[in-house]
């Protein structure tokens, strides 16, 4: 033992943590873990609740529910084929339009077409598009878009009455206005995600093409778009996922008609709109059928989103070798 002659002074401030501090730390740790787990439980709970309420209808109607095309709550007859068709059909048109516009916008926003300042303004404006609630787009669709489209639709119907897309008249809500508003609603997603994919293309690839004398659009078509194609594809799939689940614009604009038609001007319905329109006044049996429809919607969007995310992961992994 060494003599304790030169003992350092007592420690006036530093002291061990109080029992409260140590205990609170342990509790806090447990609490955060529990709340993290609760998010998983929440997702599981959603799936479980929908399954639970849908199961009587699932066992009663089975696969015929998906292939049936009559929805009659009075006779307890339920089928969602027209709604599935309408969901796919409106989403197809919306994706076509939003994909084209969105990729163009993404190019304009990422390839130096605009001065930095205008680029930022434009980017914010696109984000603003996403901020407007869909019910407001629905209102706008009813009172601005439909009247705007009606003369053109009538003209097309008059001149090409046998062309399937123009086979009916646009009397009010219908596939076309619904798809257009749907396109507006998914445009921000498609734009933002594909812009990111384009911005991730290493500049030296474009520089190499410019060095060979390519024009800006030759670079875009031969270098930027092919390199970013994985990410752009992912953006489209994610946009599709949103389109499938979008409700209000379709509930207000698709026409809530229980049948499917190829004509752009005829009314139709989608899964999400079916839920929105029927849930508020549904009786016990219809709720079961609606839960079944919700289950179908859940599975479809889940599958699309998982596929979209996988594509995005692949696309970023694929670009890694280029860095």
């Amino acid at each position: 033992m060494t003599p304790s002659a030169a003992t350092p002074p007592r420690l006036p401030v530093a002291r061990p943590p109080t029992a409260w501090q140590t205990g609170a730390n342990v509790v806090f740790r447990g609490l955060t873990h529990a709340f993290g787990g609760a998010v998983v439980v929440l997702l599981a709970g959603i799936v479980f609740e929908v399954l639970r309420h849908a199961s009587p209808a699932v066992s009663k109607y089975g696969a015929g529910f998906v292939s049936g095309s009559v929805w009659d709550a009075n006779r307890n007859e339920f089928g969602i084929l027209p709604e599935i068709g309408g969901t796919l059909y409106t989403s197809f048109w919306a994706l076509l339009l939003a994909g084209f516009l969105g990729v163009t916008l993404a190019l304009v926003l990422s390839q130096g077409f605009l001065h930095r300042r205008y680029e930022v303004v434009m980017k914010n404006v696109v984000e603003l598009l996403a901020a407007i609630p869909s019910v407001v787009y629905g209102l706008w669709g009813i009172f601005v878009l439909v009247p705007l489209l009606r003369p053109g639709a009538a003209w097309l119907n008059d001149h090409f009455p046998n062309f399937p897309l123009f086979a009916t008249r646009l009397s009010g809500p219908g596939i076309l206005p619904a798809s257009l508003v749907l396109a507006i609603m998914i445009l921000p997603t498609v734009t933002a995600v594909s812009r990111e994919a384009m911005a991730a293309v290493p500049p030296r690839l474009a520089a190499a093409a410019y060095g060979l004398g390519a024009t800006r659009w030759e670079v875009i078509f031969r270098v930027t778009l092919p390199t970013a194609s994985g990410g752009i594809f992912g953006a489209l799939v994610l946009g599709l996922g949103r389109a499938f689940g979008e409700t209000m614009a379709l509930a207000m604009l698709a026409g809530n008609a229980p049948n499917f038609s190829w004509s752009l001007f005829s009314p139709g319905n989608t899964l999400a709109a079916l839920l929105a329109n029927h849930f508020p006044e549904a009786g016990e049996f219809e709720v079961g059928a609606l839960m079944y429809a919700a289950l179908v919607l859940l599975l479809i969007t889940l599958a699309v989103n998982v596929v979209g995310s996988l594509i995005m992961v692949r696309a970023t992994a694929g670009l890694r070798g280029l860095r």
Binding site: A6, L11, P16
Partner: protein, 284 residues
């Protein structure tokens, strides 16, 4: 639980300095008896065989080439390495006679008494005042905050520069001022032992000078262990110096202690060939 609490309590309270093994050429009581046999990060053997007893009221310097484990050893003295996944130490660190790696010991209690200043200045994104008050609040200090804070800032030679703007952000200071703020923050709680990992590497020569003067003042009251790449600095401030080196013979890169002696002797008459070469500058 009760046993834990008493261990923690006595960690800070034990007034007498008990020592295990006496230090080589011991001048004063050993405050921290550090004996590293192996330190692993996962399966990587980072340091082996380093025995560095730290004497109370002295400045101990760790020198050696990059990657030889100086920071690793320093960080294991207040259990900062606990945050590195896969960290494992064989050996012991006895602080005031207690093994800080013993099962019942709370690392939080250890770090309260053994402060640390990092290589990169890392003030909190809050006012200068709150930065220095942080440790006081942690320790539930009940006294005069303003007085403590002024004392700490004076101690870190920063008071005159910041006394008019104690409420402005610590991040708005220059790099050198930030580092002195971090030192003030560390000494505000008057830690028993202050660990400094290359505290001057981000500083200009004038600020470095200030910090060195500060360390010489602080050692009257505290004990300091410092990692430095600056051999002149070690010679200027350190009472004792530990020289580490890297052993690549087994295929890995394992640091180990070459020699640990009073600074004058180590620099004046190095015993080992590697030390001689290193302080001549042959390796840099």
């Amino acid at each position: 639980m009760n046993a834990d609490m008493s261990t923690q309590a006595s960690l800070a309270a034990a007034p007498e300095v008990a020592t295990g093994a006496p230090a080589p050429a011991a001048a004063g009581p050993v405050l921290m008896d550090c004996r590293v046999e192996h330190i692993f990060y996962g399966s990587f053997l980072a340091v082996r065989n380093a025995e560095v007893p730290i004497i109370a009221n002295e400045i101990t310097a760790f020198i050696g080439p990059s990657g030889c484990g100086k920071s690793t050893v320093l960080r294991s003295l207040n259990r900062m390495n606990d945050f590195v996944p896969g960290f494992r130490m064989e050996g012991h660190v006895h602080y005031r006679g207690q093994d800080i790696y013993a099962p019942g010991v709370d690392p939080v209690a250890v770090r309260r008494s053994i402060g640390m200043v990092f290589q990169q200045p890392n003030p909190f994104a809050t006012s200068i005042y709150n930065n220095v008050a942080f440790g006081l609040k942690l320790n539930r200090f009940k006294g005069d905050y303003a007085e403590r804070i002024e004392k700490a800032l004076r101690g870190a030679a920063l008071w005159d520069e910041v006394k008019d703007k104690l409420n402005s952000s610590g991040l708005a200071l220059s790099g050198g001022q930030q580092q002195r703020l971090c030192i003030a923050r560390a000494i505000a709680v008057e830690p028993d032992l202050l660990l400094m990992d290359e505290p001057c590497s981000a500083l200009d020569p004038i600020a470095t000078r200030r910090v060195e003067e500060l360390m010489l003042e602080l050692k009257q009251t505290y004990t300091i262990a410092i990692v430095t790449h600056n051999l002149q600095q070690a010679q200027r401030v350190a009472d004792r110096t530990a020289f580490f080196f890297v052993d690549t013979s087994a295929g890995g890169r394992t640091g180990y202690l070459i020699e640990y002696r009073p600074t004058q002797e180590l620099f004046g008459d190095p015993k080992e060939e590697q030390t001689r070469a290193y302080i001549r500058g042959d390796f840099s």
